[in-house]
């Protein structure tokens, strides 16, 4: 059964390492829904968080193939354990002054925030799991979304795991 998986990949912070990882997904026919890269807790290592879809066999191959890359130190299947997954979205929504109170209502309900106000639009920042951001976008659509930018998911396993 094809399901969504979130995996973290600890890699050497080397030029070309993102290309190695994304290239591997491409040529093996693995899907990437989102990928984020940044510093990790250790100097010299970066952490990637990749959301991919596939069945259990595909996921097993993804992990094994990733381990074959010399620059990959560790692969962690986050979604096999309780995890916290968050992404951030910036949404520029059309907002004539008359529509603003209504939009502010949506923003508050989602515990999002307005980070910029233009003459005819607002920039909304929302943080949460993918479902929450999808819902926020759905609610803002009727007002007219002018620009949308999502960071992709970053995630961690809860507690001491």
């Amino acid at each position: 059964m094809s399901t969504k998986h979130t995996i973290a990949v600890l890699v050497n912070d080397q030029p070309g390492v993102l290309q190695r990882v994304s290239g591997l997904f491409g040529r093996r026919g693995f899907n990437i829904e989102s990928i984020t890269v940044g510093q990790s807790e250790e100097i010299g290592l970066s952490r990637m968080v990749i959301v991919t879809t596939g069945d259990e066999t595909t996921l097993e191959q993804v992990e094994k193939q990733l381990y074959k890359l010399i620059d990959v130190i560790k692969v962690i299947n986050l979604s096999s354990k309780p995890m916290v997954a968050r992404e951030l979205a910036l949404i520029k929504v059309k907002a004539e002054p008359s529509a603003r109170p209504e939009i502010m209502g949506v923003v508050e309900t989602f515990r999002a925030s307005v980070v910029d106000i233009g003459t005819t639009n607002l920039m909304v920042q929302v943080v949460g799991d993918t479902v929450k951001i999808d819902a926020m976008i759905e609610l803002l659509k009727p007002y007219g979304i002018q620009e949308l930018s999502r960071t992709g998911v970053t995630a961690m396993i809860r507690g001491n795991a």
Binding site: K68, I70, V72
Partner: protein
């Protein structure tokens, strides 16, 4: 064999000389590091971006470089050297077109897990990214076909990178590693401090298997009524042929060896069933399909072996022994996975396994099939049959030669009719199926084994893809016996067009090919031609008596097909057996 004769010095004295900490250029660091890694010969082709490296070779007598006539020839030769010797093959090319000409050879080595260190020059670091003259992003281009790659931006990194590259290429599942050296890095100087440690946190190939899995396998063997071994190239690469022999002897399990596994097990043995798969034996294919325990030792369940996956070995419990965990479960769901170096696995396994006692009826069945369905062909007294030619080569050399092949019908006939009894005697491009590989790889194999007989078997198509390397044989007196099985056609494509595309022969006629005898002679290599059995025997005898390189062209039947054949989409027991 080299044009340069190294001074006679002990290895220790030489090492001391190479190890001397001096301020030297990146190019000199490269050459010394290669020597310290034990490199005996390097195949290459110079150009703008590697001028400093070639300048460092000038007058450096310890370093043995063979100038090929095409970068593709250089990398296939390095590949042949690696497969024949078990050591790392090395080649050098310049940036841009020099580097891209290596791509086919890198992919060939990658598919067959051959250890290579591939060195390319690149434009100066200041020019990288500017579309400079002869610039190509070769690390980017080769990322999917290398085990690892480096772009060296600082000369100080060079000793470490070279040492790591050899370690990565030659351990775990072996493969090609590319080192791209910009021109300014090869020119820059630094104090040479050889690197001896390896610190690669993300690279720890697992060689020792899980003991519990071995116990499971031992029990499965005791219970099996129809066990079968499928052994592949991994046996040869890990040097496990003796362990395999002991395993088969102890358990009495019939064994089939894949194309790359030929030579891993003596072909004369009663339990050997031949090659499996698309052009494999009846016994191997039916043996696999009817088995209740299939023990894969260092093979990767390639589609040419498995045929239609859904329906492959339907009754078998699958055991897969491989150094690469990613191979296990990739194509075929596995019941007993064993990750480890094949040699280590067999060393641990042999003391705990016993004779497969329930398999007596099965062994009888295998023997019966073997007797009933050997490889067959219809011989002729008027035209030369390619199978007959291979049998003659086998008979006259007692299966003791190193044989390299190109790709196509002649490759399959060589695999079927040449009886290998030693590992590293059979060199062929299995995974990638690279035409143009057969002849240059023989040059490398001969460099690795100057005293052994090396026969390179080619078709008339593939021979024309790297024939320029005849110059290397002539000028260095490399005594490869070059066989051209000339059927005037791209035979394997013709066969598919006949059988599957309804006799619609599209662009397979090789009319206009050169006179191969004259082609050889144009390079100063002796050329001989045979069109009948008598001529064939005479020409081959003459070739064997001639000390240097010889090309022998055998003009054979055009319409001959390779049988048995499993067409794509069929399970491997659905075999076309041919007319014989």
């Amino acid at each position: 064999m080299s044009a340069q004769t190294p001074e006679v010095r002990s290895t220790e004295q030489l090492r001391e000389k190479w190890l001397k900490p001096e301020v030297i250029t990146g190019s000199e660091i490269l050459l010394r590091s290669l020597l310290l890694e034990g490199v005996e010969c390097v195949f290459g082709y110079p150009g703008g971006a590697v001028l400093y490296i070639y300048d460092a070779m000038y007058g450096f007598k310890d370093f043995n470089h063979v100038l090929t006539r095409h970068e593709q020839g250089a990398i296939h030769a390095a590949d042949g050297y690696a497969r024949a010797s078990g050591k790392v093959g090395v080649c050098i090319a310049t940036s841009g077109p020099g580097a891209t000409n290596l791509v086919t050879g890198i992919a060939t080595a990658y598919m067959d897990s051959v250890p290579l260190v591939v060195i390319t020059g690149n434009v100066a670091t200041t020019l990288i990214g500017t579309d400079a003259f002869q610039e190509a992003d070769i690390t980017g281009i080769t990322m999917p076909i290398t085990k690892h790659s480096y772009l060296v931006r600082d000369v100080k990194d060079l000793p470490r990178v070279i040492h790591e590259a050899f370690h990565i290429a030659s351990t775990g599942r072996k493969g090609p590693v590319l080192i791209d050296i910009p021109k300014d890095v090869s020119a820059a100087t630094t104090l040479f401090q050889p690197e001896e440690r390896i610190q690669l946190r993300g690279y720890n190939p697992r060689t020792v298997p899980n003991k519990l899995q071995l116990d499971k396998l031992a029990r499965a063997i005791e219970e099996a009524e129809r066990p079968m071994i499928l052994a592949g190239g991994g046996v040869i690469y890990s040097g496990a042929h003796e362990g395999l022999y002991e395993f088969v002897n102890k358990t009495g399990i019939p064994i089939t060896t894949t194309l790359l596994g030929l030579g891993a097990f003596p072909t004369g043995n009663d339990l050997w069933t031949g090659m499996p798969g698309m052009h494999g034996t009846y016994t191997s294919n039916h043996g696999i399909q009817q088995s209740d325990l299939l023990i894969n030792i260092g093979a990767r369940f390639d589609d040419r072996v498995t045929g239609k996956l859904d329906g492959f070995a339907p009754h078998a419990k699958i055991v897969h022994i491989d150094i690469d965990p990613a191979e296990i479960g990739k194509n075929v769901p596995t019941d007993i996975p064993i990750v480890g170096d094949v040699k280590t696995v067999l060393e641990m396994l042999n003391p705990i396994v016993s004779y497969a006692a329930k398999a007596d009826a099965w062994r009888d069945q295998i023997r019966k099939w073997k007797a009933e369905y050997p490889f067959r062909y219809v011989d002729s007294d008027t035209v030369l049959k390619p199978q007959w030619v291979i049998e003659m080569l086998n008979d006259t050399t007692k299966g003791e030669a190193i044989v390299t092949t190109d790709v196509g019908q002649h490759q399959m006939w060589a695999a079927q009719y040449y009886k290998f009894n030693q590992p590293r005697s059979w060199i062929t491009s299995g995974g990638l199926g690279t035409m143009g590989f057969g002849f240059p790889s023989a040059i490398g194999a001969q460099m690795a084994h100057p005293d052994r007989l090396v026969i390179s078997i080619n078709g008339d198509g593939g021979m024309q893809m790297c024939s320029q390397e005849l110059a290397i044989c002539a000028i260095n007196n490399i005594p490869v016996k070059i066989v051209v099985i000339n059927n005037q056609v791209l035979g394997m494509v013709r066969q598919w067009q006949e059988l599957i595309y309804d006799n619609r022969y599209s662009h397979i006629d090789l009319a206009g090919s050169p006179d191969f005898v004259k082609l050889a002679e144009a390079y100063g290599v002796k050329g001989l031609r045979a069109t009948t059995k008598e001529e064939a025997q005479r020409a081959w005898a003459e070739a064997m008596e001639t000390p240097g390189p010889v090309l022998v062209e055998f003009v054979v039947e055009k319409g001959e097909n390779v049988y048995p054949m499993v067409t794509q989409g069929s399970t491997i027991d659905q075999m076309l057996m041919g007319d014989a």
